[in-house]
Amino acid sequence: MEPVIQFEDVVKIYPLKAGDVTALDHISFSVERGEFISIMGPSGSGKSTLLTLMGCLDTPTSGNIFMSGIPIRNMSDVDLTNLRRDRIGFIFQYFNLFPLLNIIENVSFPQMLKSGHGVDEDKAREVLRAVQLDERLFTHTPLELSGGQQQRVAVARALINDPDILLCDEPTGNLDSKTGASIMELMTELNRKGSTIIVVTHDPNVANYTSRTIRIVDGCIAS
């Protein structure tokens, strides 16, 4: 079976006035379907750049990236956007829910983008139940929820289009340790059910939940 993500000799250089900055330097690795991986490294090591490339928010300067076997290097903005919508689920440190929409609408948002139709309430409720959010909160707005509850909603939103992979950027970074642990247990449960998950984190406790850790130092894979 093809890897979900495959990096082949990927280089990412940011051209700056003061001189080019090499954020990723000849990186190669692959993520198999069903894996639960953490990416760790110090600040400025290239973790965020790696996340943006895995999330198809940017393209490499050289080398190739394959998403489920599809090369992304020469894709148009429209195709990359569709790829993000259909195959990738994002979970952010600060939850990043839309304050103007209620919980059901927030969760349905990617599904509405994909279908071009209105809210599929049944599907949204099903996913929200899967992330164990209290049903009474479904019609509330994000600001009426606690951090842990908001992150569960963010997870539900990431799952709604049945993506190939979940990309999590410090998913517990804005939560207390108990709530963070419950979110990581939810991730573990999702992985057990078949989801491929990559977590970018500073926190070794988070990394302990994953089956493999990729360490980045100065734009290169250290281990």
């Binding site: 569709n82 993000r84 839309f98 103007l100 948002f109 509405m112 983008l113 939103r157």
Partner: protein, 400 residues
């Protein structure tokens, strides 16, 4: 669609800001549409005064220069007053104008007294063949059959001097030229190109000839054109009487062409005044632009999240365009409604009448104002929407 819903909710949570933006559009639409209504009402008012003379061709003796209007009633003493149209000229005009009616007109002004002991006044007197009078004017009281000692008086003249059918007017100093009895009051004709009867007397041509020693030497000839083709009649008369370029006999005025020129001038004034109103719309547009830019800047992170989870650029753009469109449509429709009220007030104050408020031209002015408001809003929303759509999703996500 979800972006329409987000646009609506964003307007709702920033209600004060959105209302102020709408207010700008309301003012802009009111300024444009009410000026249009005022202009249209002015044209309609003038049309009412002039339309009855739009079927005339006026022939006067050529006085050199650019021809021009007829001598009217107050021409005595002017250099052109000595110029007359001969009976031969009249017969030629009559022949080439057939089957239209050519009416020979005498005109002068004279002293007169109304009643014993009244002040001496000066007014215009027209002499017309009795049978042609009904072709030129309508009566509001009395009848046309005035006989040789009867006269018709203009409505303003009658009102100013308290004249009724049966009243008597002594003509000349101390009544030296006889007394006329009022047999009819002429309906108000307003401004006209042929003869101005509102402040004048109309007598028979026989009385005029006897009193002022005139013998078929006319001051002007008015041709009433039945089929409306005044241009052809004018051309025919000029061809017949002004055969030699260096020896022109008559000046011919096509009242319809003059009317059209007046209407065109009013149209230009209306456009100019509406354009001044348009300045307020431009100001409103700048306000919309400003608000939309604020909206984009406040929502950079939200745009970044949307783009990262699969929202296309055109969908982000549509969300901001919807926002501008909602403000534009609501503001413009409210402005359109208020402009009817403003048009009513302005017409009442400036023209003294609102009877031309409900017309197709005014409906068009209001519709144009509304459409202009919507177009300005959309145009001012395009750049902020484009900027939002083209934000780098990575930079937008990092925005605090």
């Amino acid at each position: 669609m979800i972006f329409w819903e987000i646009a609506k909710r964003n307007i709702r949570i920033h209600m004060l800001r959105s209302t102020l933006a709408m207010l700008g559009i309301v003012i802009g639409v009111v300024a444009i549409a009410s000026m249009g209504i005022l202009g249209n009402s002015m044209v309609a008012t003038v049309s009412e005064s002039l339309s009855s003379v739009g079927d005339s061709v006026i022939v006067t003796p050529y006085a050199g220069g650019g021809g021009g209007m007829g001598p009217g009633g107050g021409s005595s003493g002017s250099s052109s007053a000595s110029l007359k149209l001969t009976d031969q000229n009249y017969q030629q005009i009559k022949r080439v104008s057939a089957p239209n009616t050519a009416i020979p007109v005498y005109s002068t002004s004279d002293h007169m007294k109304i009643g014993v002991g009244s002040d001496d006044i000066v007014a215009s007197i027209y002499g017309l063949p009795s049978e042609d009078v009904p072709d030129l004017m309508k009566l509001e009281a009395g009848d046309y059959n005035n006989g040789n000692s009867g006269c018709l008086v203009g409505s303003t003249f009658a009102k100013d001097h308290d004249l009724k059918v049966g009243s008597r007017i002594s003509i000349g100093n101390d009544g030296s030229k006889g007394t006329l009895r009022v047999t009819g009051i002429i309906e108000e004709r307003g401004m006209s190109f042929d003869i101005s009867t509102d402040n004048a007397l109309v007598v028979t041509d026989e009385w005029f000839e006897d009193t002022y020693n005139r013998n078929k030497d006319y001051d002007e000839v008015v041709v009433k054109v039945k089929d409306g083709d005044t241009a052809t009649v004018k051309t025919n008369i000029e061809k017949q009487l002004n055969k030699h370029k260096d020896n022109k006999i008559v000046s011919v005025t096509d009242s319809k062409a003059t009317l059209n020129s007046i209407y065109a001038t009013f149209g230009t004034i209306t456009t100019f005044v509406s354009a001044i109103g348009g300045i307020s719309m431009i100001v409103a547009g700048v306000s919309i632009f400003n608000i939309m830019m604020m909206s984009v800047n406040e929502r950079i992170k939200e745009i970044g999240i949307m783009r990262s989870i699969g929202t296309q650029k055109k969908e982000v753009m549509s969300m901001f365009i919807y926002e501008a469109a909602i403000i534009g449509v609501i503001g413009s429709i409210i402005g359109g409604l208020f402009s009817i009220l403003a048009g009513y007030v302005v017409s009442a104050l400036m023209l003294g009448s609102t009877k031309y408020l409900v017309t197709a031209a005014n409906a068009l002015s209001v519709t144009e104002g509304i459409l202009f408001g919507i177009i300005i809003c959309l145009a001012c929303g395009i750049y902020p929407a484009w900027q939002a759509a083209n934000l780098n999703p990575i930079d937008a996500l990092r925005h605090e």
